[in-house]
Symmetry: C2
Subunit: 371 residues, 2 copies
Amino acid sequence: MTDLKLIRTIDVPDLDDIATGGAILGTGGGGDPYIGKLMAQEAIRRHGAVSLVDVDGFAADALIAPVCMMGAPTVMTEKLPQGEEIVIALRKLEKFMGRQVDGLLCGEAGGINSTTPFVAAAATGLPLIDGDGMGRAFPELQMTTFGMHGVSATPMVLGDDKGNSVVLETINNRWTERLARSATVDMGGSALLAFYPMTGALAKKAIVRGTLTLCADLGRTLREARVRHGDPVEAVRAALKAEIIFNGRVRDVLRRTVGGFARGEAEIEGLDEHRGHKLRIAFQNEFLIAERDGKTVVTTPDMITLLDAETGAPVTADGMRYGIRVVALAYPCAEQWRTPKGLELVGPRYFGYDLDFQPFTPGAARQAGPA
Amino acid sequence: MTDLKLIRTIDVPDLDDIATGGAILGTGGGGDPYIGKLMAQEAIRRHGAVSLVDVDGFAADALIAPVCMMGAPTVMTEKLPQGEEIVIALRKLEKFMGRQVDGLLCGEAGGINSTTPFVAAAATGLPLIDGDGMGRAFPELQMTTFGMHGVSATPMVLGDDKGNSVVLETINNRWTERLARSATVDMGGSALLAFYPMTGALAKKAIVRGTLTLCADLGRTLREARVRHGDPVEAVRAALKAEIIFNGRVRDVLRRTVGGFARGEAEIEGLDEHRGHKLRIAFQNEFLIAERDGKTVVTTPDMITLLDAETGAPVTADGMRYGIRVVALAYPCAEQWRTPKGLELVGPRYFGYDLDFQPFTPGAARQAGPA
């Protein structure tokens, strides 16, 4: 039986914090937080506030549907989505499945996708579960804890801003990614999705819990540190229990868009305590590997966040520019990703790096002696 | 009220003629007739013969669905389709639309697609209408007389041999082509479709009538001419009321696969009465433009068929090889294509040729004096 527990009500100003927090957990990817925030705020202004609820309140047979935007951040900045196509995708999924959705879910924590579910929740009045399918952002749609727990990404609906839609039914989530990626490219580089429909029972096992609350807390922490002229980087670091692995200036960024993905490498030149050292970050939409002076220090799925050294604002792979001063934070990913099944989906080898996952423990290097 | 008029029953041996006739009307495209024939014969062996019926027997509100294969002929020869995925596509279309299909229809006359509807008709027991949406083959799915009469290509289902499927709903048929083409490429180069669902009333206006009977007649004509050691090329020419525009040897073929299409140009060197002359044929899957000694003689949508000079067997753009002897026939397309609306969809300018359509009339050049 469904007996919803309200965690909090999310209104227009809350989206500022959630978008910022999403961009922090977005680890360089997940899209421009500004766009997602505008969409969600507009939807809440028009339709009213959103109920953020605990997954445990849903009945075992409730129907839960994650919603999100798919697309390459480098393309998204040129094309402002309207947002409410996400509701069309959701309604088409309901029609295709012949039943109504009981609760919405966030697909990934990222600048855009931590906020797109609020558009759907505001417009439909459906409750939004506090959690997501990654605890961070990842570039491909099969890279979810939902999939790890055996949830099929299909039936899935993609909709665009012109009125086209696609329903996919596939034999596995890799096929879904392949077909959805092409459709997204055809649709102009971004599409709105309703996918991974699952029961309440499965959702309770398969989600990363508390992600949207964490986004809101991280955003608030950063905002408050700025208001009281504190140290915003240190405030975010403390909230994440992260380690500062580097402090420097972006010297070089190689970037290309391949099949809808922004891929590349950034080189950061050390300053202050890191003067004379170098950090190299490899990314595929998200930051995936960090190498300090040629030694691998962080590997996907563990988290690498870049913050602007002055303002503490998260810096995306797409937003990195020559000369900007950044601080690199590293911290552990959601525990479920560190299992063999998780690493198969999102470990370094899946992305083509000839490396094993090496769990990152904040402070471990310092405790073990000089690096 | 539905009151079906049976034209004839189609059994295993009939498919030999229909596939050959389809390849003749395929005007160089439409796929390898051998593959389609095998699929249809196997389906009829397993499920029984097919009823070929007149469109006029269907009720105005009957639901008619064309079925076909989409894909590039150059890719298809490497991947043998199973065929019965076409039934899965059809059933998914029925489920999506919430009603059953009353009659099947052929999408295009071509080596493959004149026969794929027989797979669906045999497996489901549904009647197959004698007609199609092109009266020939064309490379893109919006190039149909159905579309000319305002029928939307969607809802449309694509299925592959692995078990993946895609349902499209689009704002126009150009968008359908775009999204379906990408999905087909993803699916390995070919997909089975059920599309352009339409009422009986619309089907009566929107189809090219009699296409499958014409295919069967052309195939039989060619077969009988061979059996009695007659002139197979002349027999086909006479059946089509076509003109022989060239007789020669393939000297050069430029071919590339672009976005799932086989595009190119062929040069044919004259023999006998055409010695010293040259024919150039431009194709995009199908033969679209013929130019004799630098002068345009046939333009799409009028028909260009190449026959092997000895056997009379139709030669596809994909099957053209250096040195083979061919005879080029030209003849008028279905009358509806010669309207302004038809030429907008399939005239030379749509394909990127800087030419107006010039209606081809067999024998006109001869009557007007020396070429």
